[in-house]
Symmetry: C2
Subunit: 364 residues, 2 copies
């Protein structure tokens, strides 16, 4: 058994060594001048990665799903309408979270493995001029679908709804253009293409979203995720909660690695590794769930060839080669694998390693 895991599943991916080093540094307090300087730098780095000038850009003290909840619970009030695209687990989760925030949820459903169609979005927006929020997943980790955003973004811009976008799996692995697309709330996760350990959710609120959070009739249903209180700490250092100091340092370090490489270079590296993996998987009889042209570079959801056992295959990869890949979930459980090439891990070397290990395992 390999002592060190190669994490080629749906996340977490392996963390960049710089982030693990940052985690182990002796603690400082959350009002320490050195920590506050670091926090400001962290926000600048996040703005660059999200491609936004939004003032209110920070990391939620929880994992990606906490960021999802923070996105919705701050802007939705009981009785508001939220239109949500649902074509996998995370779209379904958006709908659930919006409903718990008190919203009437209008779902735009697509088959798992398909994109949310722009014409369906247009119809929903037209049918619901009152909608307060339109929410969508960019990279659907449960199906490997890459949701085209540009056309939909232009439809949302013609509507008063706030545009909430889940970029948990996409951020820094492919183009995410928060300001260019007119996204009002974008959130992500540390542990995917950013290659930081799990525990934080980068997030960015437009001024319009902050205005919605400030002008609500009743306080947000979550105190912990209330962005107006978090703003009080970030801006005026008013105590809210004790931030997870080591994780914030790790994110700061990880974003430094991302920006030193350069975002376009990083996207291209993901594309190269993805192309090599796709070729290898198809040659071995795997078939992609998402249609051509709508496949994520960092998450490959593929149907198993005949005769390959889901559980045995994954167990052999893990026990004999220390390689973790993920099962299908929901509708795809038992039938599909999900293979991730995220951030630090998106290399041709890792692809070759995986394919060679697969050849051994599939031969048995």
């Amino acid at each position: 058994m390999s002592a060190e895991r190669l994490l080629l599943g749906s996340g977490p991916s392996n963390a960049a060594p710089e982030t693990l080093q940052a985690l182990s540094r002796p603690l400082v307090g959350y009002l320490d001048p050195s920590f506050l300087t670091m926090l400001d730098e962290l926000a600048d780095r996040l703005r660059e990665v999200f491609s936004t000038r939004n003032r209110m850009t920070f990391a939620v003290s929880g994992t990606g799903s906490a960021g999802m909840e923070a996105s919705l619970v701050n802007v939705l009030e009981p009785g508001d309408t939220a239109i949500v695209g649902v074509n996998g687990v995370f779209g379904g989760r958006l709908a659930d979270v919006a409903s718990r925030a008190g919203a009437e949820v209008v779902r735009i459903d697509s088959e798992w493995g398909d994109i949310i169609r722009p014409e369906d979005v247009r119809a929903a927006l037209e049918a619901h001029p009152e909608a307060k929020v339109f929410a969508l997943v960019h990279a659907e980790t449960s199906t490997g679908v890459s949701q085209p955003i540009k056309e939909i973004a232009s439809l949302v811009r013609d509507h008063s709804a706030l545009f909430v976008l889940d970029t948990v799996t996409s951020l820094s692995g492919m183009l995410v253009d928060v300001d260019g697309w007119g996204v009002d709330v974008a959130y992500s996760g540390a542990q995917k293409c950013l290659s930081v350990p799990p525990g934080l959710s980068p997030i960015s609120f437009s001024d319009r979203a902050m205005e919605a959070a400030r002008s609500r009739k009743a306080p947000a249903r979550s105190w912990y995720l209330d962005v107006t209180l978090i703003d009080g700490f970030l801006t005026d250092r008013v105590y809210h909660h004790t931030p997870p100091i080591p994780m914030l340092r790790a994110l700061h370090a990880g974003l430094g690695v991302v920006l030193a490489e350069g975002l376009p270079q990083r996207w291209e590296r993901h594309e190269r590794a993805a192309a090599l993996l796709a070729k290898g998987l198809v040659e071995r009889g795997f078939s992609y769930v998402p249609p051509e042209g709508h496949r994520l570079p960092m998450l490959h959801c593929v149907r198993l060839p005949d005769g390959v056992d889901d559980v045995e295959g994954r167990a052999a990869l893990l026990s004999d080669y220390g390689i973790e890949i993920s099962s299908g979930i929901g509708a795809f459980k038992g039938e599909c694998w999900r293979i991730g090439l995220m951030g630090y891990n998106a290399t041709e070397r890792n692809v070759l390693t995986l394919l060679a290990a697969l050849d051994d395992v599939l031969r048995r």
Copy 2:
């Protein structure tokens, strides 16, 4: 300037070295057999530290305030009554969080610096037989007050309300007896007496509290903190959210250190360090906010002697000696300091160091 901080404020305290080592280990996935074994051990260790046999004992993926929110949002439904003791910042926060969960909040107020009086609790419980929750802070970090629990616990046992207890600052620094006191939900923070970095909130739900969470009419207002969904992962490994793997390993390691020392030994160490600090502070003209007999060993809230400047004094300790202490908050801002001797830091050596540094700073 000292490179390494001595964190003698309201938290975080310095982390035990074992926890920082655990943070920097290479990642594994959250379904990795080694991780799942570790999670089960972590739960056993938490049960021992909380002194409970509660099955549903785990760490919330957020800081202490996320634990507070998880405690209330799972058991309170709109229209329920929650009785909350308020004698400082954290009691006030409990009331706020309960209200956002939809509850009608009945406050039992005491002056900041005083305890919540058992006779007031008795009166509130009698006046509100319908109350679903009674919530209290054990160690009020904003005032240094140690809330006596035993008498109040016996009053709560005669009432149907669920007993929610904040042990963020007390856990492992003084007696916390969840089962003995009949507490239904207890939560804590990693970064106080457990000497683990901030980022997790240990929590324990009694079977009665779990029953309340399961039998509610509508889902909890928080998806992220929904204990019925988290139970699905802990029990059946059904995916909920990606747990903060390095922080969970750090907590596991930190709890190992706590239990290796022994809880009674650890409480006694806190007492010894506290007695030495109290003597030194009183000799130097500081006076305690809480009355004698109700002072926390791990958090000393003291009024400044005449002529000592709050901001200058703390700044000098930090810049010249690398020692962090905390200001007063709320009603005590500018007038008090809060000095913490938590977990790893609760040593006579640290007390002597602080007093010597104070002597230099106060002399200026």
